[in-house]
C-alpha cells in the first residue's frame, strides 16, 4: 500500500512538470494560458512556429548535432586509448593520473571560459564550431575516460594475454582484441558524452553570439516573440520537447538494453 503510493509519488514527481511542457506545446497560441489537463483543441501551431525561418531552430539543431557529434567522436578516439592504458597496463603514476582526471571533471566551467574567450577572440574563433568543441572536451573527456576505465577493468584478462602470447604487442592486443569486446561500453559512453555536450550551455552562450551558429539549448532560451517582452512560451515548450525527445528515447533504449544484459 505505502509502496504503491511511493511509486506513484515518484512517477508523478518526475513526469508531471514534463507532462505540462508537452501539453502546453500542443495548445494554440490563443489558449496557451488554459489550465485544462489536455489541450482543447489539439494544435500544432507552436511546432509550426518553431520551424519558422526567422527562429533559426532547425539550424541550431544542426549546430548542436555537429558540436556534440564531433566532441563525442574525438573524445572517444583519444579517451578509449587512455582508458585502456589506465585499466590494463602496468606503469607508475597511474593513480595520480586517475585522480587528476576526476579533479578535472569537477572544474568550474566559468573559470575556463575566461582565458579561452580571450584567446578565441584573438585568434578569430568566436562564432565557430571549434570554439565550442574544444572547450567541451574539458568535461566530455574525463567522463569518457572514467566510464571506459571501469568498463575495461571488467573484461577478462585471458584474452589479451593469449593475444600477447601469440605475438601481439600491447597496442595490437588493444586494437584487435579489446576494442571489439568493448563495443557495448563504448556505445554507452558515447551516449553519455553526447548527452552531456548536447546539454552544455555556458560555453555555447559565451563563445557564440551569431544566431546561425548557436546550439539548440542557447537558441531556445533566446527565442523572442512578436513584441520584445512577449515571451513565446508555446514555441519554447514545443522546441523544448523537440530537443528532449531524442535524449529521452536514447536513454530509455539504453536502459532497456542494459537491464537485459
Amino acid at each position: 500500500m505505502w509502496r504503491r503510493a511511493g511509486m506513484i509519488g515518484i512517477a508523478l514527481y518526475c513526469l508531471v512538470p514534463f507532462y505540462w511542457m508537452v501539453v502546453s506545446s500542443f495548445r494554440r497560441t490563443a489558449d496557451i494560458h488554459d489550465k485544462s489537463p489536455l489541450p482543447a483543441p489539439w494544435s500544432l501551431e507552436s511546432y509550426d512556429a518553431v520551424f519558422a525561418a526567422d527562429m533559426g531552430f532547425g539550424r541550431s539543431l544542426v549546430n548542436s548535432l555537429v558540436v556534440a557529434g564531433t566532441t563525442t567522436a574525438v573524445t572517444l578516439l583519444i579517451g578509449t586509448m587512455a582508458a585502456y592504458a589506465l585499466a590494463r597496463l602496468a606503469f607508475r603514476g597511474k593513480n595520480v593520473i586517475l585522480a587528476l582526471v576526476i579533479a578535472v571533471s569537477m572544474f568550474p566551467g566559468a573559470l575556463l571560459i575566461v582565458p579561452l574567450l580571450e584567446l578565441f577572440t584573438t585568434i578569430g574563433w568566436i562564432n565557430t564550431y571549434q570554439a565550442m568543441i574544444v572547450p567541451s572536451m574539458s568535461f566530455a573527456l574525463p567522463l569518457t575516460i572514467w566510464n571506459l576505465t571501469t568498463f575495461f577493468r571488467q573484461l577478462p584478462y585471458e584474452l589479451e594475454q593469449a593475444a600477447m602470447i601469440d605475438g601481439c604487442t600491447a597496442f595490437a592486443a588493444f586494437r584487435r582484441v579489446m576494442l571489439p569486446l568493448a563495443a557495448p561500453g563504448v556505445f554507452t559512453t558515447a551516449i553519455l558524452a553526447f548527452i552531456a555536450t548536447w546539454n552544455e550551455f555556458i560555453i555555447a552562450v559565451t563563445m557564440v553570439n551569431d544566431q546561425s551558429r548557436q546550439t539548440a539549448t542557447v537558441r531556445i532560451a533566446q527565442f523572442t516573440g512578436a513584441a520584445k517582452f512577449d515571451t513565446p512560451f508555446g514555441t519554447q515548450m514545443a522546441a523544448g520537447v523537440l530537443v528532449t525527445i531524442p535524449l529521452v528515447s536514447r536513454c530509455c533504449s539504453s536502459s532497456a538494453a542494459s537491464s537485459q544484459g
Binding site: I10, F18, K35
Partner: protein, 306 residues
Amino acid sequence: MRVRPAPRGQSWTAAAMLSPTMVVLALVVLYPLVAAMRESFYESGQRLDADGFVVEGEWFAGLANYAGVVEQRFMNAAFNTTLFTVVTVALEVVLGVAMALVMRRAFRGRAFLRASILIPWAVPTAVAGLMWKWIFQADGVANTLLGTDILWTADGPWAKLAVVIADTWKTAPFVGLLVLAGLQIIPSDVYEAAKVDGSTPWQTFWRITLPLVRPALLVAVLFRLMDALRVFDLPYVLVGPRKQSVETLSGLIWDEATRVHYGPASAYGTALFCYIAVIAFVFVKLLGADLLSDVRSRRREARDVA
C-alpha cells in the same frame, strides 16, 4: 590473477596511449587555469606612459582585481551560490534516499519507474529552466494550483525558491539512482538478522541501511556539491542574467568576462576555483578516505541500474 609483473615495454605503450589525452587536457584545462590565475594579477587596457603618450598593454596590478571580492556583488553571488548548494543538496539527499528506498522494493512497474526517473535527468538544464519558467509564470499553473499571485521569476526572494525547486526536480532522481545502486549491494541476510532481533523499521533504517549505503551516498553528495557550486544555466534561463536575487559566482564571472573585464573575471574565477577545491578537499578528508575507489565503482553501478 590480477597482479601481474609489469613488463617494461608497457610503460612506453601507456605513455603513447595517454599522451593525446594529456595534450588535450593541458590545452583545455591546464592552460586556462594557469592563464586565468596569471590574468587575475594583471590589468590590461590603455594608460599614459612617462612621456604622456597613450600606450596599450598589460601590466602587473597586484591584488587590484581581487578588490571586488569584498564588495557587495561578489559577496551576494557567493552567498547565493552557497545557499543554493546547501539547500538543494540537502533536499536532493532526502528525496533521493526516499526514492531509492521505494524503488528497491518496487517489482511491478519497475521498468516504467526507471524510465520516468531518467526524464528529469535527460531534459537539458536550459530546457528545464524554461519549463519551470512557464510553470512559474504570474498566471501560470503553479499559482493557479496554489491559489496565489506570486511573482516567482521576477528578481526577488521567490526567485531563489523557484531555482531551488527546479534544481531539486532535475537532480534528486539522479541521487536516487546512485543511492539505489548502493542499496542493492547490501546483502539481504543483514536485514533478516535485524528482523529476528526485533529491530523496528526506523531502527533498521538508521542503524543498518544508512551506514551501509554511506559510501554510495557520499559519492552522490560529492558529485552534487561540485555541480551545485558551479551552477550557471538554471538561474540564467529561469530568472535571467544579472539578477541580484539569483546571481551565482559562475553567473558573475560570466558577466564580467563577456563585458571584457578579464582581470576581475579571472580573479573571481580563481576565487571560485579555490572555494570548490577547499570544499572538495574538506569533504574527502572528513568523510571518506576511500572515495577514489568508491567513485570508480559507483559510476559503474549507477550505469548498470539505469
